[in-house]
């Protein structure tokens, strides 16, 4: 009975295939499955929530979403992925979790799914995915252990990834005849001019709150200044000249920033830009949707976008989230189908139209998307400079990041000497790295 049913389904599928690929239903086998997925509370994933019903309608696979703030999400995942059998079928992970999860063998290698003819969609067009993102978020095992390269392979697909762009208030810039900054020198000069030209307005709103926020803001400036956390031998070089310059830039920006800037998290920094309290915003591309949303923003239509200014080089961040399948998941194959659907050309465009961050070059160039979000073209341009090695993605990074963030916050609030502060970070980082065994081969 069941056999005949199966062959009937197969026959149907065959018929469907013959009738044309659009009618094929690779999802039939998984119809009625409920996938439990773990997503962060993040504008991109809010947009994803809007398109998920379409996935269910198309495939018959139900999706139950557990949405958490992203640091919370990471804690939850640490716990869930460590179990023998986990609850989540698909997770979105913060880029720096990649190291932890892959190292602990908790994420599925995607090769076996892309090799499976029943699952893998031939029209997926992986080459269209933004390579900087894929290398940064999806790959592991290649260069430096955490990047692409001859020995690397794919563990996740970028989704809700972001790069950095400069948002500026067109009206303010026009009013005072300011030129959109191309370089860091110009950026810093304008940032400090604005409070004088427009009393009560801050120059650039940046995150600066203790911990992750301050570290992130610092890293944004570090690469364009030609700096890095480590050299090729894993020696901390954060305290070199470029590092000091980046920290000085951060301090200048915060000093010339809006009131209370030293305690800004990402939300506050964005909030003050949305509220019209600052003239510039240099951070992730994620925010574009909110800036154009009149219920959240007072600056709708007044914001222009430009590339992340250059210091000694152009280097915008790569970061955000990727999606992957936990090794202890129950419905891995259905999860792969969801993953593939979400990141397909169609899914990517849908999420872009709903206000998310596309992961494909084609979506950035798409006419419809550009008509709705004119900034997409600039973002696409920015992606060409996206640096996959923007920050080290190694298991001990969390600890170094926390130390860096706390120390920088002290620089900003307690006037700690920059060189001294970064020397301290470098020294402690060296200790952490020694303990983790990074100098074993030296």
């Amino acid at each position: 009975m069941s056999l005949s049913l199966k062959s009937a389904t197969a026959g149907l599928a065959l018929a469907a295939c013959l009738a044309g690929p659009s009618l094929a239903n690779p999802y039939a086998e998984y119809e009625g499955t409920t996938l439990i997925v773990n997503f962060p509370a993040h504008p991109h994933y809010d947009a994803v929530m809007k398109i998920l019903p379409e996935f269910t309608a198309e495939t018959g696979i139900e999706v139950e979403v557990d949405q958490l703030p992203y640091l919370k999400m990471r804690e939850r995942q640490t716990l869930e992925l460590g179990q023998d059998e986990g609850e989540y079928d698909l997770i979105a992970y913060v880029v720096f979790s990649k190291a932890d999860y892959v190292f602990a063998d908790q994420l599925e290698n995607l090769a076996k799914y892309f090799m499976n003819p029943k699952l893998s969609d031939p029209g997926y067009d992986a080459g269209d995915l933004i390579d900087g993102y894929v290398y940064n978020i999806g790959f592991a095992g290649g260069d430096k252990g955490y990047l692409q390269g001859a020995t690397g392979s794919l563990f996740g697909i970028p989704y809700g990834s972001e790069t950095s762009v400069l948002g500026y208030r067109k009206d303010i810039f026009d009013k005072h005849g300011l030129k959109v900054p191309e370089t860091y020198d110009e950026l810093l000069e304008i940032a400090c001019q604005i409070p004088e030209l427009e009393p009560g307005m801050g120059g650039l709103s940046s995150r600066a709150a203790s911990g992750h926020h301050a570290a992130h803001a610092f890293l944004l400036h570090l690469n364009p200044m030609g700096g890095a956390i480590f050299d090729d031998q894993w020696n901390p070089v954060v305290n070199n000249e470029a590092g000091v310059k980046a920290a000085e830039a951060l301090k200048t920006i915060v000093d010339c920033g809006p009131e209370g800037a030293t305690n800004f998290g990402f939300g506050e920094a964005l909030g003050s830009f949305l509220n019209g309290d600052t003239a510039m915003f240099l951070d992730t591309t994620v925010v574009a949707g909110q800036i154009d949303d009149p219920s959240k923003s007072q600056v709708v239509g007044k914001v222009g976008w430009a590339l992340h200014p250059m210091g000694t080089e152009r280097a915008s961040q790569t970061g955000g989230f990727g999606i992957g399948i936990p090794a202890n998941a129950e419905n891995k194959e259905a999860a792969f189908l969801l993953m593939q659907w979400l990141t397909s050309r169609k899914g990517d465009k849908l999420v872009a139209m709903a206000g998310g961050n596309p992961s494909r070059f084609s979506t950035h160039a798409d006419e419809e998307v550009n008509a709705k979000y004119p900034h997409m073209a600039t973002f696409g341009e920015a992606l060409k400079h996206a640096d996959p090695d923007w920050r080290p993605i190694i298991p001990v990074w969390g600890k170094i990041n926390a130390d860096l963030g706390t120390t920088l916050s002290k620089v900003l609030t307690e006037d700690l000497d920059i060189q001294e502060a970064l020397d301290g970070v470098a020294e402690r980082t060296k200790g952490v790295m020694t303990e983790a065994g990074y100098y074993t081969w030296n």
Binding site: K50, D66, Q67, L68, G265, Q290
Partner: protein, 311 residues
């Protein structure tokens, strides 16, 4: 002296008015803001003049409303679910703590097999332990040690009835959170009830025993009705802690057993602080304690003074 009210200088009343504004003001402010749109909250112009809206409450309660509010395109906030979890956890742990605490307090007072000193010492000791200290061990134990293997009979049974995957662990269940709260509150409850039971005249119990009542009957029929005020005070304090606690609940709950404080902290997430909705959820969380305060302030004060003055 004790009859009639004394007349006081005006400055005195001004001071009192100022104190009242200070203690109630923030709560009132939250109440008012919870009826404002975010735009109204953020734009500096409006003070008391604004168009009240229940939109924030609709957004907060979207998963339990019978209709779909127009302005909510996706109901992501599962407040209703969290509220029910909070209620279950707070009520069950209060009842359990009271029952268990009552029995223990009675035994300690009436049977004198352990010194009162031991109890008061341990009460103090436990009062001293911050929830943060329990975080690490409780997290480890509840997730890894207090588990029933899924291959065992009971484990398999639970998995079959309730679904889910992996070994059956205390973490992520209501019972896991309730257990911690009961343990945290027990010493305090025992301490308070003990002082009330001490005041129950022994002769009443003797009389009941002569009439042939067993120890359980004596306890339920004679002692319990007499210590009601103590029970009320203990109940409010236990409920308050279980209702308000965040840290341990956040370490032990999973997506289905989240309580309201967790939800509020999660929603202060960094991407955009929606003040209106957050204030609405905060207000909803604050309602039960406010009700207690207004209707049972005497019991609260009793509990507080008994806990401190005699402790």
């Amino acid at each position: 002296m004790s009859t009639g009210y004394e007349k006081q200088p005006t400055a005195f009343y001004a001071l009192i008015a100022a104190l009242v504004v200070m203690s109630v003001g923030p709560v009132l402010l939250m109440f008012i803001n919870s009826f404002k749109l975010d735009v109204d909250i953020i734009s500096g112009t409006s003070g008391l003049i604004f168009l009240p809206t229940i939109q924030n409450y609709e957004t907060a309660l979207c998963d339990v409303l019978w209709y779909k509010p127009d302005h909510v395109d996706h109901c992501s906030l599962k407040f209703g679910n969290a509220f029910i979890n909070s209620l279950i956890i707070a009520l069950v742990s209060t009842v359990l703590t009271l029952v268990i605490g009552c029995m223990a307090a009675y035994a300690l007072v009436r049977f004198r097999f352990m010194g009162r000193d031991t109890v008061s010492l341990s009460t103090l000791m436990v009062r001293m332990v911050p929830p943060a200290v329990l975080l690490v061990p409780v997290f480890g134990l509840w997730n890894n040690e207090f588990c029933i293997g899924k291959t065992t009979y009971v484990g398999a049974l639970i998995r079959e009835t309730f679904g889910g995957r992996g070994d059956v662990c205390l973490a992520g269940t209501h019972s896991g959170i309730i257990l911690v709260y009961v343990a945290m509150n027990l010493p305090f409850v025992i301490w308070i009830l003990q002082s009330f039971i001490l005041q129950v005249p022994r002769s009443l119990e003797e009389a009941a025993r002569v009439d042939g009542a067993g120890p359980f009957q004596v306890f339920f029929k004679v002692v319990l009705p007499l210590i009601k005020p103590g029970l009320a005070a203990a109940a409010i304090f236990t409920f308050r802690i279980a209702w308000n606690e965040y840290l341990l609940a956040s370490a032990l709950s999973d997506r289905n057993t989240k309580t309201v404080p967790i939800l509020i902290v999660n929603n202060m997430s960094e991407f955009n602080v929606e003040w209106g909705v957050i204030m609405a959820t905060g207000m909803l969380l604050a309602i039960p304690p406010i009700i207690f305060t207004l209707f049972a302030s005497r019991q609260i004060i009793t509990g507080m003074t008994a806990g401190a003055v005699k402790g």
